[in-house]
Symmetry: C2
Subunit: 450 residues, 2 copies
């Protein structure tokens, strides 16, 4: 039985079998206290081993058990009235595996840097259990949300033809003898959007959620070479509908996490000294405002006049917003999530809908406190001829995009969508500041141990 289940009231005084690992072991002559955990809850259960209940061999084993030893125990659930908590009194060991006493993660606290060198063991700490359980639940919630709202999940390909979008440097896929395998260079995908769109033009509401890759040698707390992305796409929808979808999705996730992982959130709040619960409550209760990029520039200019010092303080039309600007807009100006839309055409991706003003596109970002950009999306250019011209203007290879152009040729329902960097979302929820600590096995330049 799982520890979470064993701790239910109905099990008091029942004989049960539980399994788990030793997180703490305090032994005295006639009694041993062990904290046993099994992943089903944060704090596990207190095991009280009484000499008189166990045979000598079993008592000695529990007495000596080093941290992280694994046990399956038969015993009874007792309610300790004095301490007002449940305990488990074992009378038999069904299975055990002793841990080597030189276990590298002892009782003391370790730095996150040290734990990164032990990616295969760090999940044994309460900290990483909290982070990774929230990551797992959040992934499942994404599927649940789209399932409830009748979106189709499309597994867009990981190995793709040479990056058509120009979103960044790509990894190349080869065989042992350095040959390309597919008669055309295979690269690791930077986004599933383009291929997904072909499915959206038949199934109307789709999403993809899978790994994406960047071959960038950026060794920062915000960059990883392999990360996961959520990309929904809706046909017959303009970009305001996509923005509403993003808002609804985040509200759904925030509610569920608050309801089901409050204990872990409190632990993380205390660990990182930051307001995680309030952040999530803000997501739920605040309507996400939407302002144009040009308005955002004015807000930043005003901020500058009011003595806010920006490292980069040029705010002319066409200037890109950097992370410090994004954080200012969300943290100081809006004090919550805010959508910015109608970005300059100049820096836009080729597939974004070009407005009639000829200088802006129907692109948008959602900015949130602490993180900056969490969502980036757009309405897609729907005119076949216009799209060809943009591709030429942006100097992309037209012949590589013929299949994508076909989608505009054969009955194109206007379409909008966005991408959420999944790790950024987890960083936002958990308060983790380095992307390496929300990825089970982070891939960063020069690092590949597992």
């Amino acid at each position: 039985m799982e520890i979470k289940e064993a701790l239910q009231k109905k099990n008091i005084n029942k004989e049960l079998e539980i399994s788990g690992w030793v997180r703490f072991n305090r032994s005295s002559k006639k009694i041993v206290f062990i904290d046993l955990y099994d992943g089903s809850n944060l704090n596990g259960i207190q095991i009280v081993c009484k000499e008189e209940l166990l045979n000598k061999k079993d008592f000695n084993l529990l007495f000596k058990a080093p941290l992280y030893s694994a046990f399956t125990l038969k015993g009874k659930i007792i309610f300790n009235i004095k301490k007002e908590k449940y305990e488990f009194w074992p009378f038999k060991i069904e299975y055990f595996s002793f841990s080597d006493s030189k276990f590298p993660l002892g009782k003391k606290d370790h730095t996150l840097e040290f734990l990164r060198l032990q990616s295969h063991l760090r999940i044994r700490t309460k900290l990483f259990q909290s982070i990774m359980k929230i990551r797992s639940y959040c992934s499942q919630l994404i599927h649940l949300y789209f399932m409830k709202n009748e979106f189709y999940y499309i597994h867009t390909p990981i190995i793709t033809k040479n990056d058509a979008e120009g979103a960044g440097e790509t990894f190349f896929v080869k065989t042992k003898n350095n040959q390309s395998f597919f008669n055309s260079q295979g690269t690791l995908t930077v986004s599933g959007q383009l291929q997904e769109e072909s499915y959206t033009q038949s199934l109307k509401k789709t999403y993809t959620f899978g790994p994406t890759f960047r071959a960038e040698k950026s060794n920062t707390p915000r960059h990883a070479n392999e990360f996961w992305m959520i990309e929904p796409e809706i046909a017959f929808a303009d970009y305001f509908k996509a923005m509403d979808l993003g808002e609804n999705l985040l509200k759904f996730i925030a509610k569920k996490i608050l309801n089901n992982y409050l204990e872990e959130l409190k632990f993380l709040e205390n660990y990182f000294k930051t307001n995680l619960i309030e952040n999530l409550q803000n997501i739920i209760k605040k309507k996400f405002n939407k302002i144009k990029y040009e308005e955002a520039l004015n807000i930043l200019k005003e901020g500058k006049l009011k003595d806010k010092i920006f490292l980069n303080d040029k705010f002319n039309f066409g200037d890109e917003l950097s992370t410090e600007h994004e954080k200012y807009l969300a943290e100081i100006y809006e004090k919550g999530p805010i959508y910015i839309y109608d970005y300059p055409y100049k820096n836009s991706s080729f597939y974004m809908y070009k407005n009639n003003d000829n200088k802006t596109v129907r692109g948008f970002d959602l900015l949130v406190p602490k993180i900056g950009e969490l969502i980036g999306g757009s309405q897609r250019e729907d005119n076949y001829e216009k799209l060809i011209n943009i591709i030429k203007e942006k100097k992309l290879e037209l012949k590589e995009l013929n299949w994508y152009l076909d989608l505009r040729k054969y009955g194109y329902a206007k379409s909008s969508g966005f991408g959420i960097g999944f790790e950024r979302l987890i960083m936002f929820i958990t308060g983790v500041e380095n992307i390496r600590d929300v990825l089970p096995f982070p891939r960063t330049p020069g690092k590949l141990e597992f």
Copy 2:
């Protein structure tokens, strides 16, 4: 509103807005019949365009609309008593996009081979809509099942260190100038199991569901270079528990698909002339039997005596079962799914638990009719010293596996798990015989168009 929703009884005589693509257009002078679909159901809705209800321009547009043109229409839902079905009578076009009349997939039936050349358009056929909608639902069901049963979803890495398992040829990940990026050769994962196990040894019940890769130049209907795999792992569990988990998972999926995709299954049954519904019912109602590998050999020997002709008919201990044998065992002998376990040590993966007989391991496969092996799993070797010896015997690189050995060193709870090839599962459910037709954009040797 979605077409599926519009077709509900409560909407009769209501004014609604619906969107979709033209699947069929039969026009006469004063009336136009259009089949419009939007992905929300299989057959879409019948649009009846009456000249008197529409302005001349709109009527003419609908009159001339080529296949796959996209429309958003305002109109009324009518129940046609004579034909006993719902119709939609439009009175206004809100949005439209004409398809080029040279749309390559016309009304006639196309071969699957031809459609493969049009991977970006084939989803516009009823056939691929049925397959891909079932694929999508099935992916979501997998997450739903594990969520309900409180398994943690682990995103194991895609870029891994040189394949430690020796499961097959791997793809290499490089940068533009052919350099390895990580100071150690990156390869695309063949399985998430090894890394996942480190999480199982703390969270107890885990799974991964992600893309896996093989750099094999096998151009067969059963091989692809990129495919998805589901891999659950349970700590404190022997291999019989893992077999039971596989059975429960498949029963859950079969029930849900029968309940929610019966229309699509009937369409596919008719298209492929095969018994899909009966297959799924069999999964639900039959207890999965479990027999040892040596018993399977005897069954095959008996089959041979009873005039069954095998291409390969040697059945001595240590001989591998090939697909013809697997199909015989499931289709002819068991007439349903069957587990085979305790395979020879000789051909086993290094991480499989070696039995005391020293010649078999606690590995198992689930065989199903038409497909052969659908699930492959094992109990994992749990003894640190024994595992080192096996690694040496199988001539694998010990130093690459030190981190994996650590898991056995520091409190190892016996662990079992398995992998399901997701595409095989979809082939089993849909009756599709070529793996290229269950993958949105299949990756096979020499082919990379999208």
